[in-house]
Symmetry: C3
Subunit: 279 residues, 3 copies
């Protein structure tokens, strides 16, 4: 693992790679994060790479708040370098993440909304701080359906009624409710989270690699969406995100402090409910 990254701090402990996202001020998913993620995914395919990766965030308030809405073309262009030939979308990049032979764990503190939640959903397991993790899909409240996997994953994990609730309300889900609905594997007391995830990661990393790879591939064959469904979601998002409706609502949010550390991003679920009704 010789790469260095602008927005990811890595630490290798035996066969486990700890990868901590750090993209100040609030860990928006922009071109730099996506470029680093593409690189990391490539590095994981190299001989001798880690067998398990634990992702977390250097910012306790924000895992990933969502994409940088001012740089959709730029991060999409970066995603195109990793998602496969002709596939320029975060959705296809995240699908590739789901298919990597490395086992991927997310240690979730702070807000994981929009593509931040979708990143977590693309990983293999999600363990969250009971006290401070928040998940949400704010896209519909802004004016577009989620485009990078949430529709696919939440429909399968939560079932129709709860997936529609999560997606159509764009509400914030605390860790306890996210666990109850199946959005995450478990909510754990914050004080126990680090030790639990580390123990889980090292346990898995000591198991025979052929078995891990075969078992993950077998589960993927049943649970991952078909590429065409991921592409269709991405295309719809990329179309609607340019609509007048999204431009206006995102504009209102920017006027209130969107994409900065402050009440709108901390309580985005509430801020969406405070916006003027759409036409």
């Amino acid at each position: 693992m010789t790469s260095s990254y602008d927005t990811i701090t890595t630490r290798l402990d035996g066969r486990v790679l700890y990868a901590t996202f750090s993209a100040p001020p609030i860990n928006l998913i922009g071109p730099e994060v996506v470029r680093d993620l593409v690189q990391l995914l490539d590095d994981l395919t190299q001989p001798g790479a880690a067998r398990v990766v634990v992702f977390d965030s250097a910012d306790r308030d924000f895992f990933f708040p969502h994409v940088d809405m001012t740089k959709v073309p730029e991060y999409t262009a970066e995603a195109a370098k990793g998602g496969g030939p002709g596939d320029a979308s975060l959705g296809m990049l995240f699908r590739k993440l789901s298919q990597t032979s490395t086992v991927t764990l997310v240690k979730l503190r702070g807000r994981a909304r929009g593509a931040g939640s979708e990143f977590a959903l693309a990983c293999d397991m999600r363990f969250a701080s009971r006290e401070n993790a928040v998940l949400g899909q704010p896209e519909v409240g802004i004016g577009a359906p989620p485009g990078a996997g949430a529709v696919q994953h939440l429909a399968r994990l939560l079932g129709r009624g709860r997936a529609l609730e999560a997606i159509l309300t764009s509400a914030d889900f605390d860790a306890e409710l996210a666990e109850r609905y199946g959005w995450i594997n478990r909510a754990l007391p914050d004080a126990d989270l680090d030790a639990f995830v580390a123990q889980t990661a090292h346990r898995i990393a000591a198991f025979p690699r052929d078995a891990l790879i075969a078992a993950k591939a077998a589960v993927n064959a049943i649970t991952l969406p078909a590429p065409d469904a991921v592409r269709a979601d991405a295309a719809l998002f990329q179309q609607l995100v340019r609509s007048d409706s999204v431009q206006q609502r995102a504009g209102d949010l920017f006027q209130r402090g969107f994409q900065t550390r402050g009440p709108v991003e901390l309580e985005l679920g509430q801020a969406l409910g405070d916006l003027k009704a759409a036409d």
Copy 2:
């Protein structure tokens, strides 16, 4: 929204339509209810229609107890007017309900059994009173498999083991257990239910309509059963409901007070267990 209905009281509050079923004495799903539901679904497609509908019941003991077993041909004939060309079944009518571009919420108090549960399952979200909501699929206990969507929805929402338990035992599920199994979105304290559902409905109604429609359609594409499966369930129900076994068991229930307000309908799960063993 100019229609008036015999069995539905409506109140429009901004973009939210509150639709309260009232078919005394106990809200059986008979031809009148089905006719009104067909009309309401049509009204929802008109320009300027509500964006969110909240369904509840005027009877706190009975959301919908089940279909009127004395009027299966009559309500099926009414369903045929709404389910699409050649599709004479509640199942296909409920599938159409699932596909409407309006967002549909159920506020559940009292008993929702049989096609009453299936109506709720066809809606987008189900919020239930923790104290007094009851769900059940009594069909197998009477002698036929559920025919209007329960097999399809419960298999997907609850998984094989719990769906088989719900369907093969025909037992009553209280709101807490229904929540735990995923039959409903959430069980809420009765005192909080109205405010929670109203807040959810108005929140969704203020979001951009294109996003709501696109997101719901995307979730539907993953989660709704194929029409042929719905038709097959309906055909099997319509065949077995005429069997000697059903005639005899329903006859026994009628002698004890079936389809009237009383202990058999209030505790139908128990009443089914008290019936003489089938041949």
Copy 3:
């Protein structure tokens, strides 16, 4: 029901057959258990057979710990007699179990790991002692993916993230966590378990048989994996179980007391974590 079995004690109570596995010393799934299971499945198809079967174990510590790792060819040969033409695998035998028209309930005390968990997953409903039931898929920790249904069932019941956790960690799940994840229908207080399962079994057995069979078949059509997927899982297991990796790790476990009553089998999840890291 005229057969007698070497490893199953049966008691017929009305239409309910209680079938208790007893294969001392620790109820390993070996050729005798599989032969008896093949016979029992055949007996259940005879006229006048029970309508509901309740499976449990005579050993309160072990429901089924897993297969007898020293007799894979032998039990596979027995499974071939029941799984259908050309299908020599526990997976296909268990799929046949899922398809039997008899309703199958599992009353779970003690450890159900590996194919023991997969047997339970193949049954229609699983009720477990809250105090002492344990479920696990230790296969990956030994060096092969589960081969007799766990991948298929857990992916569908638990969803991608939790299924990957269960399968890739090979950890022990207590009844409470297994219930929360959907691995079992319910965890019940040990003191209530017998009465609850008996009441459920007799309730179902009194319902019309045509309805039970039709409803189970309809749920199966949605929830059971395709035969080819089951065959692929079995083939992969049968290949990897002969690998050097599995031979070495199983050898280490045998040196510590594997397949005998003792700490390794009682706490197999922990024992797998204590093994030397695989290459």
